[in-house]
Symmetry: C2
């Protein structure tokens, strides 16, 4: 029996704004050195201290459009005149060398990736409660009451998309949520769909020895 699965797992971490996916991903990447963050590409100008290849791949509009025409994005979108996208070839390269790739993305992006990824693992991060979600959205925005309610209502609606995902994790504490994602990664690497070719191949190898 082979002991290492050759291909890494693409782990898409997503959920409504305010659920805490950013903090979870940061903690997960700090804790585990076998996980790699997928770096997005964008045409917006770099902010102070942002580094090309670390925070984003900063591309010109022409470069980005060229990649779009070459079908080199798992998903992309235009937001306020700038392009943002997930470069496919980078992700594939990491997966093919056995690395597990973490991709933090909003729900619309995740659903687009799902159309293009057969064996990605889609994890939906949920707030501990709707009250807590409201509080988080309120705390981090300096907006009008009306726009806060709009943001909350949108996050509330977005929770319905959980049914498109493989796993749902309630972010009661970051530590618990991170541990559950680690367990999911371990479980996914044991899935028969991912390992059976290796197993059956190594079995055949034995009989011919």
């Amino acid at each position: 029996m082979t002991k290492s699965n050759k291909k890494g797992v693409l782990i898409v971490i997503s959920g409504p704004s305010g659920a805490g996916k950013g903090t979870i991903c940061k903690e997960l990447l700090d804790k585990r050195d076998d996980l790699y963050l997928s770096v997005s590409a964008t045409t917006r100008a770099p902010r102070k201290e942002e580094i090309h290849g670390v925070n984003y791949y900063f591309l010109t509009k022409e470069e980005f459009e060229c990649k779009v025409s070459e079908n080199d994005f798992l998903e992309w979108a235009e937001v306020y005149g700038n392009y943002y996208g997930t470069p496919k070839s980078n992700v594939d390269k990491m997966l093919n060398t056995g690395k597990n790739v973490i991709l933090e993305i909003d729900i619309q992006g995740a659903l687009k990736i799902k159309e293009n990824s057969e064996d990605g693992v889609f994890i939906f991060i949920l707030p501990p409660s709707m009250e807590e979600l409201k509080k988080r959205i309120t705390n981090r925005q300096s907006e009008t009451q009306e726009s806060l309610m709009r943001r909350f209502s949108s996050a509330y609606q977005e929770i319905n998309y959980i049914s498109k995902y493989n796993y749902g994790i309630i972010n009661d504490t970051v530590e618990n949520a991170v541990q559950k994602i680690e367990n999911i990664i371990c479980a996914e690497r044991c899935r028969v769909d991912r390992i059976k070719d290796d197993i059956l191949e190594s079995k055949e190898g034995f009989i011919h020895e």
Copy 2:
């Protein structure tokens, strides 16, 4: 968001003879007090020290056949004139009170259960290598060379059934294998199929508060 999934998970642990599933199950049950072993029913006579309801439910042939006619077995089989089966109502009762149920069973039994269980988790235990499998089968049997080869050949063929399972675990060490099963149970309890009704229900509850 609800924090506890109401229903337990049925975990079917199976694999070829010699892969070590018995040792793994014992260790798993010793380690975790939220796991319950499904006790089989049989019509064979109890051996010394075997206790009704612990090692087996010892039934008369009539009692067993009555349960068969009531469709109260997840699977059953006749072996050398005795019946063996997995009582369905016991398993369902445990699952419905949120307990996770471990069921250790051979491959034929597991495949029958799969036909009757929509949401069971089927885990295939693999030996560390085919050499090791051969050694284990040889060590524990006092049989002729020919019958050993037949047993090995049968175990070898049985590995093909892995494709019917959800997960495959290489039993390199019992500790590793047990840890992986624990991770799988955690991951399965986060599966959207298992939790989404609770999530969406608790969300609706909030909006009407």
